[in-house]
């Protein structure tokens, strides 16, 4: 045997175990996209934790997906930056993931979903509430959370009907999400006869809001509507508003639904209202999620529950489809009809799964359901 052919035999012997091992231990790859660094790192980490919990619970409850030994998550960092989000989407395409959970910021989800849809990969967002996410008619785009054009009228009605307010001062921080929502609230409020005294903007990453709050104080509106991306600027603004002696009721929205908000804002957060999708914490599905999540990652925050449900939905669909083909997974997703931890999951034709916005009030450091658009006051 010549030296050359010997080396070929040795090489092939070396390679064979790898081929066999990949054939027998197949991994189902799914991706997640959320900001893991930068100003929204905390919210993004919640999403990643929700997805990880879902994989764990799914494997325990439903067993492995036929043909695969395990499910592996490839978490990507979007930094809430459109360019990074597209780069992350491309990376996930190269990794050949079957489905993607994410992103957090609407401004990241929108461009990333274009890329993923071209590559025929299913994407479910647990957190992007901007209308454009599903209104562009992308075939593989799904949404677990609610929509801003449902949230804005709910907020406006709550302000008028429950708080009996007449004047509103709106502040947003110019992200796709916060500005879209602020514009929606402004439009809806005007339509039902409320007076929007001013609509001002701050910048992402600001810490000092004293200038704009001085304006609020001078205007003395009934309601200060804070449309800010994330709990962190909201907590800062709440503290500064209360310290400055602003007595207007503060109303805010879903991105602030984070126990850390009360931890940072402490007493000043008492009596703040916000709109968020209703989740019943007493269902067995929620309890199952809670039992796995809390010991590992602490208190359940804004979008962890939706991330959990998105992942469960995706895995259920992949299992039912018995294939990694996006069209088959989509067909199974549309058939899904199950009780999730956050809500009853049933996707509509455009990829939405319905909104259930109610108003919460911060009482003794907890978010307490306060007002439902359908039935009025939940508790006095």
């Amino acid at each position: 045997m010549s030296k050359k052919s010997l080396s070929i035999v040795v090489m092939s012997l070396l390679v064979i175990p790898f081929i066999i091992s990949t054939a027998s231990a197949k991994t189902l790859k799914i991706g997640s996209m959320s900001p893991l660094t930068g100003p929204y790192a905390s919210d993004g980490t919640d999403i990643k934790n929700g997805v990880l919990t879902a994989i764990e619970v799914f494997e325990q409850q439903e067993g492995p997906i036929p043909g695969y030994d395990k499910i592996e998550l490839f978490p990507q960092d979007t930094v809430c930056d459109p360019r990074q989000a597209v780069a992350a989407a491309n990376k996930l395409i190269n990794l050949e993931v079957v489905g993607v959970i994410g992103a957090y910021c609407s401004s990241s989800t929108i461009p990333a979903s274009e890329t993923l849809n071209e590559a025929k990969i299913v994407m479910i967002t647990p957190a992007s509430t901007n209308e454009q996410v599903t209104d562009r008619g992308l075939p593989y785009m799904f949404r677990m959370c609610g929509r801003d054009d449902d949230q804005a009228p709910a907020a406006a009605r709550f302000i008028k009907e429950s708080l009996n307010a007449k004047t509103i001062f709106i502040i947003d921080d110019k992200t796709t999400y916060s500005q879209g929502l602020a514009d929606g609230v402004s439009k809806n409020a005007k339509a039902i006869g409320l007076n929007v005294v001013n609509h001002d903007h701050v910048n992402q990453g600001d810490k000092d809001f004293s200038a704009v709050l001085t304006k609020v104080k001078a205007a003395n509106p009934d309601i200060l509507y804070m449309s800010l991306q994330g709990y962190s600027p909201a907590a800062l603004m709440t503290i500064q508003a209360k310290r400055m002696g602003i007595t207007s009721q503060i109303v805010t929205q879903d991105a602030v639904f984070q126990p850390k908000y009360m931890e940072v804002a402490k007493d000043t957060s008492e009596g703040v209202y916000l709109t968020y999708g209703f989740t019943d914490p007493t269902t067995p599905e929620y309890k199952a999620f809670e039992a796995k999540y809390v010991p590992k990652y602490g208190k359940i925050a804004a979008y962890a529950t939706y991330a959990y449900d998105s992942t469960i939905a995706l895995l259920k669909a992949i299992k039912a489809a018995g294939s990694t083909d996006a069209d088959k997974i989509k067909a199974e997703l549309m058939k899904l009809d199950f009780k999730g931890a956050s809500k009853h999951v049933k996707f509509k034709e455009n990829g939405d799964s319905g909104s259930s916005y109610i108003a919460f009030k911060v009482e003794k450091g907890e978010f307490v359901p306060y007002w439902d658009p359908a039935t009025g006051l939940i508790k006095k």
Partner: protein, 303 residues
């Protein structure tokens, strides 16, 4: 008029914080002509050491009984920690490059900045850390103007630190040695001034002031997070350039101007463009006076 005075107070508070951070940039630049981009991270680290100390004291219950002692101790510890951190950073990341081109040290500074801010993220977590103290959260009203005790504390402390720094630089022997090193390292070495020691000291003082600013920001805004150093760092650097980099008085002035312009821009024109106004002023000044308001000068006011 009332809200004008209120905005003025807001502006002085913010400007004072920028001024404290800007001093670190300007002092280091004065001595070794390096823009220390890691300076914002000393500020963030100071804020974190502050929250750790104050949480510790609150846990022990001392915060109720001896608030002044706890605050002083926290300030002292944070300033010392950051001073030593800065000395360490200088020894590891800048000193070996002192003979190389300035660009090398600049890149090294950027690297240190990323390293420190990610270090904070990994060790302290991505979530905001809340300051435990509700002290000074209250204030008093003059007409409709609200002044919080914290604003008074910040303005007073900033003034004290600035005066102390001026005395140190212009009235003491160490200050004279610093100014001499800034002017001519070789010549000052000939008259037995250890330039390494002076450079370390400059870094230490700058970082100490930034750490003090970090705690004040934490107390004032109620929380700190790992990336808090970036934006104020950029603003303070602009303030240092605006005032004339290398010039201590210029940095103080620059900080106040940037803070004021930001607040008044947001207050009277539009909140979304406040950073734009700050930079328009910067560009305007640099256009007519490229060395900044006070000018980078070679006489003995430079450190």
């Amino acid at each position: 008029m009332d809200s004008f005075i209120q905005q003025l107070i807001n502006g002085i508070t913010l400007g004072g914080i920028y001024a404290l951070i800007a001093l670190g940039y300007t002092m280091v630049y004065g001595v070794i002509q390096l823009i220390n981009f890691a300076h914002g991270e000393f500020f963030a680290t100071g804020g974190y050491v502050g929250v750790i100390c104050l949480s510790f004291f609150t846990g022990l219950g001392y915060m109720e009984t001896h608030p002044i002692f706890c605050l002083t101790a926290s300030f002292a510890l944070a300033m010392m920690y950051c001073a030593y951190l800065a000395i360490g950073v200088e020894k590891i990341a800048y000193k070996p490059l002192r003979k190389e081109s300035r660009l090398a040290a600049l890149l090294s500074a950027l690297g240190v900045s990323i390293f420190l801010s990610n270090g904070l993220m990994l060790t302290q977590g991505v979530y905001d850390k809340a300051y435990p103290s509700e002290l000074f959260q209250n204030g008093f009203n003059v007409g409709i103007i609200t002044i919080s005790y914290l604003q008074i504390l910040i303005v007073c402390l900033t003034a004290v630190l600035l005066v102390a720094l001026n005395l140190l630089v212009f009235k003491t022997k160490i200050g004279m040695a610093m100014r001499a090193t800034a002017q001519d390292k070789t010549m000052s070495a000939l008259v037995a001034i250890g330039s390494n020691r002076i450079i370390s000291l400059t870094f230490a003082i700058g970082a100490g002031l930034a750490a003090a600013a970090g705690i004040m920001v934490g107390l004032y805004y109620g929380s700190v997070r790992y990336d808090m150093g970036f934006l104020p760092g950029i603003k303070a650097f602009s303030a240092a350039v605006l005032g004339g980099i290398g010039n201590i008085t210029g940095a103080m002035l620059g900080g106040l101007i940037i803070g004021m312009v930001e607040i008044f821009g947001a207050g009277y024109i539009s909140g979304e463009y406040k950073d734009v106004f700050a930079f328009i002023i910067l560009i305007g000044v640099l256009y007519f006076k490229p060395t900044g308001i006070m000018g980078e000068n070679i006489d003995d006011t430079r450190v």
